[in-house]
């Protein structure tokens, strides 16, 4: 398999081997500061990961989960509208969904800080809401972070759902209507089940990058919204506490890989490669 091997070797060397090194690092310990960690089956990094960094884990999965649900609620109707009402503008409309993602993710997020800032156009309107005081803020809140995550990854939701809706023969809903089904009933019993693979694939593709992200919370959040990505980045690149950071990464990876394996067991890997 000469054609396959260069790519496989690359992935072995620069994906699999590094992950194994990370596993090893996560079980190492540093007896004193500034001494390279040694491998010692030290599980304390894992117990610390759960005891010390539980709030960050809870926040990461909570924010990512909420962002995923919002992405479904916003993305599904849009994909459905384009697939059923787009007509000859379908490809153009799907193209428009992708256009925002040609601008750097970082710059888009910074643009949101400008839009949501205390000098921005919307904060005044927000403060008029009865339950918000005159010092209400949009920026530096958990909802700003969740909004940023939803915004930045929503195309990964819209595209797979659109692909799965495009495959549906909409004569089926006609048939359902002919047999006396209401529009909603036909949608729920025919279209929705057939588009579920797209929803599942999209959910993984939004949840995974959102759970490991640290850019959105850095720009749109505050010290109270730090996520597990923030901690891992800080531990690796600033504190240089490698064993602890490796253990945190491994926990994140194991949880997510379990989700992916369950997914691919039932639905295959096809849908993830949109």
């Amino acid at each position: 398999m000469g054609m396959l091997s260069p790519g496989v070797i690359w992935l072995l060397l620069f994906f699999l081997v590094p992950v194994l090194i990370l596993v090893k690092a996560s079980l190492s310990s540093t007896p004193r500061r500034f001494i390279p960690p040694t491998f010692s089956w030290d599980w304390s990094n894992y117990t610390a990961a759960f005891s010390q960094y539980q709030p960050q884990f809870v926040r990461s999965f909570g924010y990512a989960g909420t962002a995923t649900i919002l992405a479904i609620l916003i993305g599904y109707p849009l994909a459905y509208w384009i697939a059923t009402q787009g007509g000859r503008f379908k490809n153009l409309l799907i193209g428009l969904v992708v256009v925002p993602f040609f601008i750097s993710y970082l710059i888009r997020t910074i643009a949101w800080t400008s839009i949501l800032s205390d000098n921005g156009p919307f904060v005044g309107l927000y403060r008029l809401l009865p339950w918000v005081g005159s010092d209400g803020r949009l920026l530096a809140t958990p909802w700003a972070v969740i909004g940023g995550l939803t915004y930045n990854f929503i195309s990964f939701m819209i595209l797979p759902i659109y692909v799965s809706l495009e495959k549906i023969d909409f004569r089926l809903t006609e048939a359902a209507a002919d047999l006396g089904s209401t529009a909603w009933h036909a949608f729920r019993k025919v279209v929705l089940p057939l588009s579920m693979p797209g929803v599942f694939a999209g959910s993984l593709l939004v949840f995974i990058p959102a759970a490991g992200d640290y850019i959105n919370t850095y720009y749109l959040g505050s010290a109270k919204t730090t996520m597990i990505g923030t901690v891992v980045q800080d531990q690796f690149l600033k504190q240089q506490d490698y064993p602890q950071a490796a253990a945190l990464s491994m926990v994140l990876m194991v949880i997510i890989t379990t989700m992916v394996l369950i997914y691919s067991k039932f639905l295959g890997t096809e849908g993830l490669a949109v």
Binding site: F15, V98, I208, T269
Partner: protein
């Protein structure tokens, strides 16, 4: 991420005109439902484009302080001097270089894998496919962190080459899966036919196989280039002293956010949209010829 719908499924039937004939409470209800849906989608598009409008509008802003985040007054100055900020421009050129090198290598490795996987059934092909998907479903921070550990253990100095290695890694999977999705259902007997007619294997590849997989490769190239150019997290862990565009924007954000960032971003946007339009025109034409 097949944005321009290379494999548009055949339209089986025109969407029936559900509005034909009026009356009936159900039809009216359905029409209202559709109006609400359309209104909702217009709002979603506004939301999707809000940061873009902000970015483009602020290219025409004369910033008050060092950060171009609050509207002050209209000016064309920023467009007159798009490359004024030298550190920013050079970081941008470095990013282009990283992406060009990484994507070129990933295209070769990934396309070969895609052809092998689409064409031959062999033991272990299922495992290879799962293995290919894993880099796309692993959080970037985990891949960045693990590469960082690898390079640290081997005493490799972080810089241009380590960034390129990392970018090739995630682009390979992406290219392989995108190209594979497009060559599925491709008629491989065409190759046999060419060879039966006396064509050499290399000529067969050049004249038959390559033109057929080219649209898939182009789409993969465009998308992986965009992914690589935009990458922040993996680059953060493998960069060393080599500063790419997103890293530079982040590094100087605390001190300054010059309007040239917006100008450069707007340029990327315009070029990408043009490329998108061109490739989708090309695909429309080739699909017409194909039929």
């Amino acid at each position: 991420m097949t944005m321009s719908g290379g494999a548009a499924p055949p339209v089986l039937v025109e969407t029936p005109d559900l509005d034909a004939g009026t009356g009936g409470p159900q039809r009216i209800q359905r029409r209202w439902g559709r109006r609400v849906l359309t209104g909702f989608c217009v709002l979603v598009f506004l939301w999707l484009f809000a940061p873009l409008i902000n970015i483009v509008a602020f290219t025409f802003n004369r910033p008050l302080g060092r950060r171009n985040l609050t509207w002050n007054e209209f000016t064309l100055e920023n467009w007159a001097q798009p490359f004024k900020d030298v550190t920013l421009t050079s970081a941008f050129l470095r990013s282009l270089l990283v992406s060009a090198v990484a994507v070129s290598i990933a295209l070769v490795l990934g396309s070969l894998m895609a052809i092998a996987l689409a064409r031959y059934r062999f033991s272990g092909s299922k495992v290879t496919e799962v293995f290919l998907v894993l880099p796309l479903t692993t959080p970037e921070i985990v891949m960045g962190a693990s590469l960082y550990q690898l390079f640290l253990n081997r005493n490799v100095t972080l810089g241009f080459s380590t960034i390129v290695i990392a970018h090739i890694m995630f682009c390979v999977s992406f290219v392989a899966l995108t190209v594979k999705a497009r060559v599925r259902g491709f008629d491989w007997t065409l190759e046999d036919a060419a060879m039966d007619l006396g064509s050499s294997p290399w000529r067969t590849f050049r004249k038959v196989t390559f033109p057929l997989i080219l649209p898939g490769i182009l789409a993969a190239a465009l998308l992986s280039f965009a992914l690589s150019l935009d990458d922040y997290i993996i680059t953060d862990f493998t960069k060393g002293e080599y500063v790419t565009f997103p890293i530079q924007v982040n590094n100087q954000f605390k001190i300054s956010f010059p309007p040239q960032v917006n100008v450069l971003a707007t340029m990327i946007l315009v070029v990408s949209v043009l490329l998108l339009v061109l490739t989708s025109l090309r695909e429309d034409r080739s699909s017409v010829v194909g039929r």
